[in-house]
């Protein structure tokens, strides 16, 4: 990508950035630092550790990774495992895959079909959380849900989604919910390709695969990467599945965001511990981003 040059001196740029800088310092940096510091205490909102919190060093972190039981259902290790499955299924395969597919299918096409599809996909994204959760509980209901009515008519039986396949249920749900974001990101990325490249390729008789390999992928690698990072981050932090399964049955769909909620918001409101979870998650996401970036750089080198 070309390096863009500046047209204003730094002094002017600061003026434009000032409101954002203020917001970031007051409402992002300050709370973040507080959360970071809290992760080293046993602060709670209720109970006797509320008025007298103690500094506990890395105890909260150690407790998260306690080897004796951390993979037990309801503990952090289990939450991580479930979240990973959830992210791979929903973010990578579901959202990114589906989003890319739709963006690609409608690349450079206009018309009613595109408008209808895009609108419906986006609809799934903009409907308020609480409403969407409700409609999906109804949709997935074993006895009365629409999904099972449809599946039964085509002879695929009536799986007990929320009870026997809870992870599949939330993956399905979140893919449905999040496809729009990926679709819009990839659609936008595709539009940055100069049409002349594609037209030339078509004139020469290139197949879809060749077009993909020689034009789209090289030009869009950077875009696809940053989009994947964002989609993964969003999926790691999404909380709406809680309204569907509550993290159950029996903690089987307790992704990390739900585990954090249970720690920081219920019971004694142990937000010291909750903060440590948030910090760990941030580090994991940072690590993933670095891995993504490194893999791209390596490919560029070869």
């Amino acid at each position: 990508m070309e390096r863009k040059h500046a047209i204003f001196p730094a002094r002017v740029g600061i003026i434009f950035l000032t409101p954002a800088i203020l917001f970031v310092i007051v409402f992002l940096l300050y709370p973040f630092v507080r959360v970071f510091l809290l992760s080293f205490t046993n602060q709670t909102l209720l109970g006797t550790t509320a008025p007298n919190p103690e500094f506990v060093g890395l105890d909260n972190y150690r407790h998260l990774f306690n080897p004796d039981r951390w993979m037990r259902l309801g503990e952090f290790g289990s939450a991580l495992k479930i979240t990973t499955q959830f992210v791979v299924g929903s973010a990578l395969i579901g959202q990114a895959g589906m989003g890319m597919l739709i963006a690609w299918a409608f690349y450079r096409k206009r018309g009613v079909l595109r408008e209808v599809v895009f609108t419906l996909v986006i609809l799934a994204w903009i409907i308020p959380e609480t409403v969407v959760a409700f409609t999906w509980v109804a949709f997935l209901d074993w006895e009365f849900g629409t999904l099972n009515s449809v599946l039964e008519t085509v002879g695929l039986g009536r799986p007990d989604w929320l009870f026997e396949r809870p992870l599949q249920s939330i993956i399905l749900f979140n893919s449905w919910r999040g496809t729009a974001f990926s679709m819009l990101l990839f659609s936008g990325a595709l539009e940055t390709i100069p049409p002349s490249y594609v037209e030339t390729a078509e004139v020469v008789g290139a197949t879809a695969w060749q077009k993909f390999r020689d034009i789209f992928f090289p030009l869009l690698r950077g875009h696809i990467l940053t989009d994947l990072i964002l989609i993964t981050l969003w999926t790691f932090n999404v909380f709406t599945p809680f309204l569907l399964t509550g993290g159950g049955p029996a903690k089987r769909t307790e992704v990390v965001s739900i585990y954090t909620y249970r720690t920081a918001f219920m019971g004694r409101h142990e937000f010291g511990k909750g903060s440590s979870i948030a910090v760990v998650m941030m580090l994991i996401n940072l690590g993933l981003a670095l891995i993504y970036l490194a893999s791209i750089r390596r490919r560029r080198a070869t």
């Binding site: 569907l244 509550g246 159950g248 049955p249 029996a250 918001f265 409101h269």
Partner: protein, 458 residues
């Protein structure tokens, strides 16, 4: 007019207005008191909101104005969920703010007091609270709902009892004799088996699992545990009981019902909206026996509710929950029940404690409570107010209050309750055996309460 005359006139006018103003202030400035609860006119707990806004508050304000000490009372409706209300209370109290009179679930009191967020009534208002006439009409057991470490923190508003509700029509269908009052667990289980053979989908439902929260611990676990012989906490010793034959018996009861014989629907206990499903199931005749509390009768299946049972009085019966065997229950009882309760507290941060107390005591006086009772019959916390218009409610209260006990009022209780829910969940889902689940429970509670505060019963 000359300059000096004008200035004099101005001065006199200002002084006059000033004097008038001061006079006005002294005579008329009303004191503002706020009260909040989870109640919304046209929404949740509609009756409570209506009683406050159309009856209690206006009559109180009138009386105070006539007395020359005007007090303005404002109801702040809260339309969120219970957990959110608790969260708001915790946050507000922690920074020294919050509304003046707050509705509170009794078992939250210890953890709030432990966090230094609440103070006893006598400290907030003054020693005169102990002279209130109402205390003489409220039993010690009910006063205990909002008491902690011997101090009163608020005035109770209601309590409840728990029992087995059953569908008489389904029982008839299965050929079971009515009225039905089992005297042992085996009888309950046998009845369930008979119902199962007669084709009833889910004969018995006893709450388990974390999705139902405190409803699991109270209507489920405690109702069985108390029948197995002991409480969760040894009140004499001051220790939590973490391992015992009683706990094993309880877990095995769950296992029999849900895992071994399919007398209950485990699925319902593990789904997020299980409680609602159990209500719907009872309404639609899929569940024959449900262990619930008296609000189930007066609110959930009452006419007008979404889960109302048609011809409730003919179709639904109730029975006391038996101990494992006669005499084997807690305190040697044949039957068991446990009561929760809610009430109203006065915020220690209130700028107007005396006025808040004036309203609170007024609101809890006999006539006011009677008016509410007429709107919504329920177990009354004052002995001079009877349950109005519903003989079934009266019968429940008379039968069960004597057997009832309460939760241990300690800051650790809510955490331990969560462990209980987890324990039942593990057994009902088949994930762990009763022994394993009890071991996990023991480990968790030891960590919560400290090794010095737990014991095992042989």
């Amino acid at each position: 007019m000359s300059r000096s005359k004008f200035l004099t006139l101005l001065l006199v006018t200002v002084l006059a207005l000033g004097a008038l103003n001061i006079g006005l202030v002294q005579a008329q400035e009303p004191v503002k008191v706020t009260i909040t609860c989870r109640c919304v006119v046209g929404g949740v707990n509609h009756n409570l909101a209506v009683w406050l806004t159309t009856f209690t508050i206006p009559t109180f304000e009138e009386a105070m104005a006539a007395q020359g000490t005007p007090i303005d009372v404002e109801l702040v409706e809260f339309g969120g969920g219970d957990e959110q209300l608790k969260e708001q209370y915790a946050l507000d109290l922690s920074v020294g703010s919050g509304y003046d009179i707050i509705s509170f679930d009794g078992f939250w009191v210890p953890e709030f007091v432990g966090a230094g967020l609440l103070k006893p009534l006598a400290e907030v208002v003054g020693p005169e609270v102990n002279d209130w006439e109402g205390w003489g009409h409220i039993s010690d057991g009910i006063q205990a709902i909002l008491s902690y470490q011997g101090e009163r923190y608020g005035i109770p508003a209601g309590t409840d009892v728990r029992q087995i509700f059953y569908r008489k029509d389904l029982f008839e269908q299965a050929g079971i004799a009515l009225p039905w009052q089992p005297t042992s667990w085996e009888e309950v289980l046998d009845t369930a088996r008979t119902l199962k053979e007669a084709g009833i989908e889910t004969p018995l439902q006893v709450n388990a699992g974390t999705a139902m929260g405190e409803a699991t611990t109270m209507q489920g676990y405690f109702m069985v545990l108390l029948g197995a012989g002991h409480h969760l906490y040894d009140f004499d010793d001051g220790k939590w009981i973490i391992k015992s034959q009683g706990i094993l018996d309880t877990l095995n009861f769950y296992k029999t019902v849900y895992v071994d014989e399919g007398l209950g629907d485990a699925r319902m206990q593990l789904l997020q909206d299980g409680r609602n499903r159990s209500f719907v199931g009872f309404r639609d005749g899929q569940i024959a026996m449900l262990v619930e509390g008296d609000w189930f009768w007066r609110s959930v299946i009452a006419p007008g509710s979404e889960t109302a049972v048609e011809n409730r009085n003919e179709v639904v019966g109730w029975a006391m929950m038996p101990a494992k065997e006669p005499g084997a229950g807690y305190r040697g009882q044949d039957f068991v029940s446990i009561s929760g309760g809610t009430g109203w507290l006065i915020n220690p941060n209130t700028p107007h404690p005396k006025e808040a107390w004036a309203f609170l005591s007024y609101m809890s006086s006999r006539d006011q409570v009677r008016a509410f009772e007429l709107m919504q019959p329920r177990i009354s916390f004052r002995d001079d107010v009877e349950v109005a218009g519903d003989p079934v409610m009266t019968a429940m209260a008379n039968a069960l209050l004597q057997y009832s006990t309460v939760r241990p009022m300690l800051p650790e209780y809510p955490l331990i309750s969560t462990e209980i829910q987890l324990m039942t969940e593990r057994v009902v889902s088949g994930e762990m055996s009763p022994e394993e689940a009890m071991d996990a429970f023991a480990e968790a509670v030891t960590e919560i309460a400290g090794a010095d505060n737990v014991k095992t019963l042989e």
